[in-house]
């Protein structure tokens, strides 16, 4: 277990800037939900938002261990760098990891196999809800941010899910002051989003301030890609070039990580956090617009998936 105080610098004052306030609020939410829920869990994808969330959880509860396990919903279509990062982080922290596998959901006939080249993104919902039921989780921390999508922009920090895992945007609980209220009946749960008010730029500034490690694919590197549905997809086991698609080697990085079949790369030369911050501050394309095929299909793609119980 990592020790608190290893970086002790002697008594000091903190400056109360936006990152300090965002951090403090996230820690507040983590402590509040952990204290009130019976069986909380932290959802961890291995992406930058999860990495920040996990770091904040450590800050909230050290010198103790985390009062909840960490759960990865594994589509089986991962970037190897992300799995490596996940395993390194978990062994460094000495915390408990649960892996909920989409492949197992397919094997057990819970969801149909969409085929080798198709996205497994939507299938994650069944795997996630099955795991929540199996472990009787009543609160799931997630790293979603409100700046990601117009449906997320409306979601509460503590977002109620009925016994079918559904979000009802018309009946959200009022959420006043810092009085987060996550009481649920058996079978229901809440999703808790401590990073609600963080933007993509805040995340990167915080990664810089805290010197956080991230999977390598967040920084510019050369790799073969194909252009598909307006996105650059990494050529890999599940993304096989189709007839007519041209494979090119480009210098790219990823702005989000998810299922390799629907997570696009952006052309980039940013090899350091500082360079990524510069690119993020001047980017003209939103994080999801650039990189997530799953949100491109309709104006309300995210809202529709969220209603069903997606992250």
């Amino acid at each position: 277990m990592e020790t608190s105080g290893s970086q002790r610098r002697g008594p000091r004052r903190v400056s109360v800037d936006h990152l300090a306030l965002l951090e403090s609020h996230a820690i507040f939410v983590l402590r509040e939900v952990a204290a009130e829920a019976e069986r909380p869990v932290l959802l961890f994808s291995g992406g930058k938002d999860s990495a920040v969330l996990l770091h904040l959880a450590v800050k909230a509860f050290r010198p103790g261990g985390l009062p909840f396990p960490v759960m990865h919903v594994d589509t089986g279509h991962n970037f190897p760098e992300v799995i490596k990062f996940r395993d390194e982080q978990m062994s460094r922290l000495g915390e408990r990891l649960i892996v909920a596998s989409v492949q197992e959901s397919i094997d057990r006939g819970r969801v149909p196999d969409p085929g080798p080249n198709a996205s497994r993104n939507r299938l994650q919902t069944t795997t996630l809800l099955d795991a929540i039921a199996e472990h009787a989780f009543d609160a799931c921390f997630g790293g979603a941010r409100r700046d990601e999508d117009k449906a997320r922009a409306k979601e509460r920090v503590l977002s109620f899910r009925d016994s079918f895992g559904q979000w009802d945007p018309k009946r959200q609980r009022p959420e006043l002051w810092h009085l987060y209220q996550g009481r649920v009946q058996p079978g229901e749960h809440v999703r808790a989003f401590p990073l609600s008010d963080w933007t993509e730029l805040d995340i990167w500034q915080y990664v810089s301030r805290e010197s956080l490690e991230l999977p390598d694919i967040y920084y510019a590197h050369r790799r073969p890609v194909v252009k598909r549905d307006g996105m650059l997809l990494a050529v890999c086991e599940w993304v096989v070039p189709l007839p007519g698609e041209e494979v090119r080697e480009e210098s790219v990085r990823f702005r989000t990580v998810g299922d390799a079949t629907c997570t696009g790369a952006v052309l980039s030369s940013a090899r350091t956090v500082a360079q990524v911050i510069d690119e993020t501050a001047t980017s003209r394309v939103s994080e999801r617009g650039a990189t997530r095929a799953d949100d491109k299909f309709s104006e309300t793609a995210m809202e529709d998936r969220k209603r069903e119980g997606y992250f």
Partner: protein, 454 residues
């Protein structure tokens, strides 16, 4: 986008890693142009990405709207687009070099008061959008009233659609006079009125030659100049800004000690401070303030820490550490102002749970004593509250609570009521009676003294 291509990004468009943070609620009556104004603010500060703008253009075209409708940027949900109304608060983010802005875009309809209250409860400021041709409508007055009751005491009012009144000064002055009266009655200490056209962008981010008679700030300048962080600090000056730390979690130190984790509010907490543990009343001294990054001499308001004390006390979640010189009151019988959010009426005798700071306990409403008439800005006699009412109640709690008056501290002075059967949050509660001045007393005093418009 049409009409705005000549706008160059403001010099200070690139945020740095050292900004402060202002949270504000945008309110206004349906159709007065709130969504367009926020869309304009985001667009002209270059907060929108090309694909978001493109999506809005596509959506506008699909619905046969000629101009690009900037209001689509904030109206995100399917039902809202279909009905053309805003149901829930949408949070938006903008940043200038100095400041991160968190915008709670609040819904207008009476039946969504719970969502408006959600947005206003953590706001430092209200951005009030008014159609200059019609002046303050009932709904706007209602919103202003709810925001003020929730402790928002800075108003930036946009007299919008100035283009439709040919930028004449008269209608603007009319709105200004109405705002002055309203602000006085609501006890809003700082307010100003800015003439704008959200559609074309005048005085939102860009200055404009259309109103030579106006020399005040643009909307963005007003948002950058406003004091921030007020809501978490409370208005505790008359209390001497005493620190409060509601205990969220007990951390066990290696070696056996305990440390009490929570967020500081009310005033800074320092090592060596004498504190009192409430409701128990035990006095002790702060021996250390810890964070993961190391110890602090002083924990400012809004920062999450854990606190070690000198004595071996049985402090647990729900207790409150408070500055011993200016502690909150410990009470089981409260008078409070509540916004009621349930279809079931609230009456004397009702049993509910109250969540106050980090403590949840059963409570009984011993009486409903009045209802706020948000149009006349008066308290009228009442013995029940129906959905969306704001009223005054008396409440008895099963265990004593350490409370401040809401006007002194928005954290220790607030609570929510929870329905025991459904777990729904059915009320927002504020300790104390509402501040409402009579029609005569309102116009005097501090309100006009702090305004800076011409």
């Amino acid at each position: 986008m049409r009409g705005t291509s000549e706008v160059s990004p403001p010099d200070d468009a690139t945020p740095t890693a050292c900004m402060d943070l202002l949270r504000f609620a945008a309110v206004g009556s349906v159709d007065d142009g709130k969504s367009t104004l926020i869309g304009r603010l985001l667009y002209d500060t270059r907060q929108l990405f090309d694909d978001q703008v493109a999506a809005v253009e596509v959506a506008s075209a699909r619905r046969g709207i000629g101009e690009v409708d900037l209001s689509f940027i904030t109206d995100g949900l399917r039902a809202e687009r279909e009905q053309g109304i805003t149901i829930d608060v949408a949070y938006r983010y903008a940043a200038t070099r100095r400041r991160k802005l968190v915008i709670a875009d609040c819904p207008g309809h009476v039946q969504y008061t719970r969502n408006m209250a959600t947005g206003a409860s953590t706001s430092d400021l209200a951005l009030v959008v008014v159609d200059v041709a019609t002046g303050l409508r009932e709904q706007t007055r209602r919103h202003a009233c709810i925001a003020a009751l929730l402790g928002v005491d800075q108003f930036v009012v946009c007299a919008n659609k100035m283009d439709l009144v040919d930028w004449r000064e008269g209608p603007y002055r009319q709105v200004e006079a109405e705002v002055q009266e309203l602000a006085g009655r609501l006890g809003v200490s700082s307010w100003r009125v800015i003439p704008v056209s959200a559609l074309h962008g005048d005085f939102v981010v860009r200055r404009s030659p259309s109103a030579p008679w106006y020399d005040g700030p643009t909307v963005l300048e007003a948002l950058e100049d406003a004091p921030s962080g007020a809501w978490a600090e409370g208005h505790g000056t008359q209390l001497g800004g005493g620190a409060r730390l509601p205990v969220q979690w007990v951390l066990r130190r290696r070696g056996g000690g305990r440390s009490y984790a929570g967020m500081v509010n009310g005033g800074a907490l320092r090592t060596g401070d004498e504190v009192v543990v409430l409701p128990e009343g035990w006095r002790t001294t702060v021996t250390a303030i810890e964070t993961y990054d190391g110890p602090l001499d002083e924990a400012p308001v809004g920062i999450s820490v854990s606190v070690d004390v000198a004595d071996d006390l049985d402090v647990s979640r729900g207790d409150l550490l408070a500055d011993a010189k200016s502690p909150p009151s410990v009470l089981k019988d409260l008078v409070a102002t509540v916004c009621w959010f349930s279809d079931r009426p609230l009456r004397g005798g009702d049993r509910l749970r109250v969540k106050h700071t980090t403590r949840t306990t059963p409570a009984r409403v011993t009486g409903v004593t009045g209802r706020v008439d948000v149009h006349r800005l008066e308290v009228a006699a009442a013995d029940e509250l129906v959905n969306n009412d704001i009223g005054i109640i008396e409440l008895t709690t099963a265990v004593p609570l350490a409370v401040d008056a809401y006007r002194d501290d928005r954290i220790t002075g607030s609570f929510v009521l929870i329905d025991e059967a459904t777990n729904a949050t059915v009320a927002a509660g504020m300790v104390g009676e509402p501040f409402l001045a009579g029609p005569g007393d309102g116009c005097s005093g501090t309100a006009s003294a702090t305004r800076r418009t011409a």
